[in-house]
Symmetry: C2
Subunit: 344 residues, 2 copies
Amino acid sequence: MKPLSGRVTSLDVAALAGVSQSAVSRAFTEGSSISEAKRKAILDAALKLNYVPNSIASSLTTRRTNMVAVILGNLDNPFYVQVLKALITRLQARGVQILTFTVKNGSNSDDALMRVLRYQVDGIILTSAQLSTRMTGICHDRGIPIVLFNRYIPGSSASGVRCDNAAGGRLMAEALLGAGARSFALLKGDPNGTTSQDRQRGFTDCLLERGIPPVDILELEGQSTYDGGHAATLRAFLDERRPIPDAIFGINDIMAMGAMDALRGEMGVKIPADLMVGGFDNIDEADRWPYRLTTVRQPVDEMTEEALNLLDLDNPGAAIQPGIDIKVPGRIVWRSTIPRPVDL
Amino acid sequence: MKPLSGRVTSLDVAALAGVSQSAVSRAFTEGSSISEAKRKAILDAALKLNYVPNSIASSLTTRRTNMVAVILGNLDNPFYVQVLKALITRLQARGVQILTFTVKNGSNSDDALMRVLRYQVDGIILTSAQLSTRMTGICHDRGIPIVLFNRYIPGSSASGVRCDNAAGGRLMAEALLGAGARSFALLKGDPNGTTSQDRQRGFTDCLLERGIPPVDILELEGQSTYDGGHAATLRAFLDERRPIPDAIFGINDIMAMGAMDALRGEMGVKIPADLMVGGFDNIDEADRWPYRLTTVRQPVDEMTEEALNLLDLDNPGAAIQPGIDIKVPGRIVWRSTIPRPVDL
DNA sequence: TTGAAAGCGCTAACAA
DNA sequence: TTGTTAGCGCTTTCAA
């Protein structure tokens, strides 16, 4: 009895093993009551027929797909690759499948969300873009937990985890001030992202509080990308011939790296001698020889862990908690782009 | 009639719109015969109820999930991130969902494949690891096309796309010879990957043919990672004090970058004055100021395009073609780690 | 163009 | 511990 072309179902296995179809189902379900002998016979038959249980079919009855959607903005930023990796690792370990989506940064994720909903995912992790209240509503009605990663929707009840971005921005301001900087450039990121906004705000607020006049904080649009950071730096200091400040803060590492390459590669600026630079994220590249970037570390592992906790995949039925907003603190990783204060 | 908690089905919509359930199904199916009036009424009702069609349920009857599995080895290599990005973009544009998997490099992907098969994916793209003939068989029996990306299984009938890695290796050997190199180091990658093997073979074969004695080709194990390339370089030239050769070829860019950082950062070697370096892949980072790496470009767009063609998602029923193996040529991208021959 | 009815492959009561 | 039976939410004949 060779496996016929196409599909082998539990019925085929049942027939070969001489049991009922439900017995087959039980043999493949953890903790189902079935005798060892029968299970073994069924597994044998299944192997012989190359039977693979159909999760799609079982999802229909169990109302669980064991799939989670991960919606990402920007895979050009290594930080989010790192996040994706961490999520995949954790989710895979739990036997959960990952439906991956990308959404252009700043654009609305409603479409992506709608498509994902059709697949009856058990949960959604969103690292990108806007989320309409209508969508939050739909997910809520359907009992699908949705977790925002490094993002929050002001006034929404969606849960999320994020780095304490504002505090991180302040940390960097303090670090730079402590190292003696008095004039600054701020490489800003995606204007729609709360993440960028918070870091920027924390940074400038702190500077202002410490008496730095607004004129001494030059704001540059870096688009959150390497190329954006590179281009903005060139434009400001080469094309527009603005004076080089004491320090530049890239709202994320990848922009800071773009700035560094522009500064050193095209303008011969020495870092940190001529100018200090600070980043945010602590991506792997920040530790490499060309950069050795002092930055604010985001604890990816803790953050992804918390995100999955919020998803609470083990408690399907559980009423979705109203907007829990977890803020994980970042901390400075000292490397060589900012002289470290000796007072430690 | 507010949307009840939980699930709204086509039946609910049918009730509200005053039509049969099958009419609702038709309203949501392209090219189904249904009157415009009815369709509009149904769509209205659906909107009112926040109805989202259940793809899981429809997959059961149509036998198509519109999901494709992408199995990846190594997201630490930016090249594969680029591949993933390209695949996501293309697949998403066609309305296909992506089930993402990672498999430890060199390990067997059977488990991942089995899990994926349960989800009745319409196709599989595999960039990683081994693939047992049993698995190829199962996929074949079930009519699931499987495409190997930059990999092939010698003697298997699985289709695939790859860069002409051997030819690329030769290209680099020629480039280095042309620039005057006579002694070499070869940073090898994953010993189980055909990709690495082919590049290495092409490289050494060419060198040998051109009269370079084997003693002048030092082989280093770089594990296909930045850290691996970095460490192997340090070990060979710093710890073991081997003489620095004229040139080093990193089987992929990320290893070459690791080597460059080790050479310049820890040993003060000048590139290309003291030693030339060649890479393979042409990842974005290779073009950046600290590296400006001369490398063999893999045409990611063409390759992913071809991969999807092989998948042939539009012809579900079509008998799976027997092992088509597409080889796309790479070409040298000249930058500054190898002096460019003037004879052009 | 429409609706009724029969499944798709599985799980989950319910009896035995 | 088992088998029987009734769905899960949809698509798809088949008649009307």
